[in-house]
């Protein structure tokens, strides 16, 4: 199959230009829907990271007194083993606990300076069979068990926040999916119109023996370019809004939200995913159009 790059590039460009209004509509819809997808994904990651950090991914933490004796620790350990609501527990000794505290308090160096490994309380990090039992379980440990400084569970407000962001994510994703479907249809329609506008050329091509792929490729590529352009715009929007949010968090030194600033790796992966979805939507839309409206 001899499809020259020049020819295909030229054809695709002229097609896009001739059909620019349709193409613009398709590109913008892809951009809007993919921005929502990207935002939803980043929001999800940020919220999960932040809440994970607040919770340490556990539903119950039992802080021991820094000076708790080995016997007291062993005693608490056996109490935990006898508590059926607790499914799993890990123990952080002074050194680990200190490092953990340093991470958590990274934004307030003075607080870290006040700590040494020896003064950092050791901690049991437990997972519960059912997080809603956290308050009753923590109450039993808070009722004067020797050596226990405090048992804490994620507060109600964190759980509410988690649920709210979950709902928000679902809403964003549903809107995004609806918009994705409509952008797919728009791309399909744009390609259909391009095929219709070029039906004479297509007729002549078939007549003189152009291969099926030679006829199809410019149209497929047109859809792909529309998807890609939309995705790139979306990726920029997502990137900018992410920069905006992390700038605000840093600028106002909102240290409690420190973990909501996502690492570059996560952002790059999300952006790649957004671009990939754009490509898939473009190719899918144009493939359907080519298959249905370009009988070769």
């Amino acid at each position: 199959m001899a499809v020259s790059f020049d020819y295909v590039a030229k054809e695709t460009a002229t097609n896009l230009w001739r059909n620019r209004m349709m193409a613009l509509a398709a590109v913008l819809t892809v951009a809007v829907s993919l921005s929502l997808v990207g935002t939803a994904l980043l929001l999800r990651q940020a919220v999960n990271r932040q809440i994970g950090q607040w919770n340490n991914n556990v539903s119950l933490q039992i802080f021991m007194d820094a000076s708790a004796s080995g016997g007291q620790i062993a005693n608490v350990r056996s109490t935990i083993a006898q508590t059926p609501q607790i499914t799993h527990c890990s123990y952080l000794d002074h050194q680990h606990s200190y490092e953990q505290a340093k991470r958590l308090l990274a934004s307030s160096p003075t607080a870290i300076e006040a700590l040494t490994p020896a003064t950092t309380p050791t901690v049991f990090r437990c997972q519960l069979r059912n997080p809603s039992e956290a308050s009753t379980v923590s109450a039993t440990f808070n009722s004067g068990v020797p050596g226990v400084y405090q048992a804490t569970s994620p507060s109600q407000s964190i759980r509410v926040m988690q649920q709210v962001t979950n709902v928000l994510q679902i809403i964003l994703l549903v809107i995004a999916i609806v918009l994705l479907v409509s952008s797919l249809v728009l791309i399909l329609n744009a390609i259909r119109m391009a095929i219709f506008a070029r039906r004479r050329e297509v007729g002549v091509m078939k007549l003189v023996g152009a291969t099926n792929w030679f006829i199809r490729v410019p149209f497929m590529l047109e859809g792909l370019v529309q998807g890609l352009l939309g995705a790139i715009v979306a990726a920029l929007i997502v990137l900018l809004s992410n920069f905006g949010v992390s700038y605000l968090i840093r600028h106002y030194k909102v240290s409690v939200l420190g973990s909501a600033v996502l690492p570059t790796h996560d952002i790059v992966m999300t952006e790649l995913l957004v671009v990939l979805i754009g490509l898939v939507v473009g190719v899918a839309g144009s493939s359907v159009a080519v298959r249905r409206f370009l009988d070769v």
């Binding site: 199959m1 001899a2 499809v3 020259s4 020819y7 004479r200 050329e201 007729g203 002549v204 091509m205 078939k206 007549l207 003189v208 023996g209 152009a210 291969t211 099926n212 030679f214 006829i215």
Partner: protein
């Protein structure tokens, strides 16, 4: 070059468009395909291009059974068959040169080959000076020459022409026929479906007549119509009665009293 073996083709729920056709066309022949509208001429050409597939029988082009051809090879078959139509089918937004070059571009010919072949073929059809014109700036005859150039530029084995003079006046038609004749003399097989009595009669080439899908005549140096075919080719309406209606007609020969085919009565209206 072309062989039909007991080819039958019918469209949904209708009488066969082609009914058990067998014939062979040698390399370099010039064949007229005649018959009234709906006699199966266009179906014949469509089957050759594999735009349609016969219900039964097989069609051979250049030693190949085209029914056996896989879907993706069909374009390569079509590169061996140049097509000319009544309505020219030129691309209105391309110049003459671009129109002809397009046929080579889309089959991936290199640039330098395209430039030389297009110039050659435009010279052949007598449009060497008009390469930069747009189709709408040309007369019908010139447009058809461009279409012939496009069909021939890739040097196909066969030229298929579906009423190429159908839209042209007799004088212009003569020019197109001369051109097709020249192309035929280069060894290219020409199959031409036509209603044009005058052309068939003056050219005196092989005539294949179809009537309601059946092969009713195959004559080496034929004319358009014969008295014996009269009722058949006009579907039972006495052909004499139709003569002078402006249709390609028949007329009674005053000396012998026989009904014979005559030239089309174009221009007498």
């Amino acid at each position: 070059m072309i062989r039909f073996d007991n080819v039958t083709k019918s469209y949904k729920g209708q009488a066969p468009a082609l009914d058990d056709i067998s014939l062979e066309i040698q390399k370099g022949e010039f064949v007229f395909l005649v018959g009234s509208s709906g006699s199966g001429k266009t179906t014949f050409l469509k089957l050759l291009l594999r735009e349609a597939v016969p219900d039964s029988g097989s069609i051979w082009v250049a030693g190949r059974d085209i029914g056996e051809l896989s879907h993706w090879r069909v374009p390569y078959l079509r590169r061996n068959l140049g097509c000319v139509f009544q309505d020219f089918r030129l691309l209105p937004n391309k110049t003459v040169t671009e129109n002809v070059a397009f046929a080579l571009e889309v089959i991936g010919r290199p640039r330098n080959v395209i430039v030389t072949q297009v110039a050659q073929v435009l010279e052949l059809v007598g449009l060497g000076q008009k390469g930069d014109r747009m189709p709408h700036e040309l007369s019908g005859g010139e447009q058809q020459r461009v279409a012939v150039a496009r069909a021939f530029v890739n040097r196909p084995l066969v030229i298929l022409a579906d009423e190429p003079t159908g839209n042209l006046d007799p004088a212009t038609s003569q020019g197109i026929m001369k051109l097709l004749d020249r192309i035929n003399r280069t060894g290219t097989t020409v199959v031409m479906a036509t209603h044009d009595v005058g052309i068939v009669d003056t050219m005196r080439r092989r005539v294949v007549e179809l009537d309601r899908g059946k092969l009713v005549r195959d004559q080496a140096r034929g004319v358009y119509g014969y008295a014996s075919d009269m009722t058949m080719s006009t579907r039972g309406v006495p052909a004499v009665a139709m003569a002078g209606n402006g249709e390609p007609g028949l007329e009674r020969d005053p000396s012998s009293g026989r009904v014979a085919a005559v030239r089309a009565r174009r221009g007498q209206r």
